[in-house]
Amino acid sequence: MLSGGTRDARRTERYLDELMAADQRRVSEFPVDTDMDPAIRLAARELRADLVRVHPSFRFEEALAARLAAGAMRLRAGLRVEIAEADGVPATPGTMSAFRSHSTTAQGGAVTAIPPDTAPAQPQAVASASALRRLPEMAARQSRPLIVGGVGMASAAISIGAVYVAWRHSHQASGRMGRAARTAHGRAAGSSRRRTGVINGILGVVS
């Protein structure tokens, strides 16, 4: 004979299993045990929506992967792995993007992890990592947001900027203002082209 507390705890567990399974199936409504405390149901739904999985920055991920690879090399050579005490990889601010969980099995609540390398994220919203505290307002009810690194985007922006500068040098303005500017600065078209060629050579850009 189960005690009241144990029965309630089992009821709660069944509800959590159903809640997670419904999330995998992307449905919001599912049959619930009416004997269950509605306040607990509400709390569970709140936590399901608010406690999102967080991913570190890609820079951190790759830096740690490199350290692990170095550790693996040491192991292969029969040496010990050096475990750093507190010298973490430089932290970088991240951005947040929402995605739906790709877990497929929710029976008994044991669900598959979302391997970042195999599960394609489906970005729905992007915001500063400092907005984590506003997650409930930003993330959709049924989505499982993820925080990803912002360094990749910064790097891409810098690359685009460099390519634009190179392109701008190789495509001189042909208007009157452009000609006037070249005359004023005494730039010969030939020397400009040579300079552009050098820049393009450095950047590896083909105009």
Binding site: G5, T6, D8, A9, T12, E13, M20, D37, A39, I40, L42, A43, A44, E46, L47, R48, D50, L51, V52, R53, V54, H55, P56, E61, L64, A65, R67, L68, G71, A72, M73, L75, R76, V81, I83, A84, A86, G88, V89, A91, P93, G94, S101, T105, Q107, G108, G109, A110, V111, T112, A113, I114, P115, P116, D117, S130, R133, R134, L135, P136
Partner: protein, 212 residues
């Protein structure tokens, strides 16, 4: 059914990471696959426990380095695990999802995070985001709005006693079963069930207070 599990026919399909673990044992470079698979889960656990990106990154690094170094000593104890969960073994599908490598990894994470929290208590620091908020006195309206929007549920979880909070994080963020949480926290399934129920009751009370 249980006797068949003991014969050793079942474990091969019980730990879904067995192939990756064996590959990593043969060639440590293959550990990368396990790292990529569990990075977000371990990092999330550390982040929710430590509430600071930098501390979470440090903890995550230590967890995976320790896991890599300790992998040769890792023992898969699927049979014992199954034996202790005879009812669920009968059901099949749930057992098939049990990953003892994941449990082992999260036990490491559990210890690393606990050590980190102990160290933090001795040397308290303010996370950078909070410091930025505090040092912006002319941005009162925005700060107030951000605090208003601060999730009441998230706050309620932070106020929970340690074991309840960890059980909630493992259940909701890492989507673990009661059995897995029990194996990580060193509790029985029944104890974890009660832990989760009480934790939700506390959160519900907190939310009710917040609304009223």
């Amino acid at each position: 059914m249980l006797s068949r599990a003991k014969e050793g026919a079942r474990p091969a399909r019980l730990d879904r990471d067995r192939g990756l673990v064996e590959a990593a044992r043969r060639d440590p470079a293959c550990f990368d696959a396990l790292y990529r698979k569990y990075l977000a889960q371990v990092y999330s656990y550390a982040y929710y426990e430590l509430r600071d990106h930098h501390a979470a990154e440090d903890a995550t690094e230590r967890v995976f380095m320790q896991a890599l170094a300790g992998l040769p000593r890792f023992e898969e104890r699927v049979d014992d695990f199954i034996a202790s969960r005879s009812v669920m073994t009968e059901s099949g599908p749930d057992s098939a999802e049990i990953s003892t490598f994941r449990i082992w990894l999260f036990r490491i994470a559990h210890n690393v995070v606990a050590n980190e929290r102990r160290r933090d208590r001795r040397r308290p620091v303010t996370p950078l985001e909070e410091a930025a908020e505090l040092s912006a006195p002319d941005d009162v309206a925005e700060t107030a709005a951000a605090r208003e929007a601060f999730s009441a549920a998230w706050d309620a979880v932070a106020r929970l006693p340690q074991d309840r909070r960890r059980a909630i994080i493992l259940r909701f963020v890492d989507e673990m079963s009661t059995a897995e949480i029990g194996a990580i926290l060193g509790r029985s399934e029944g104890a974890v069930r009660v832990l989760l129920h009480r934790a939700l009751r506390s959160v519900a009370d907190d939310l009710r207070g917040h609304l009223s």
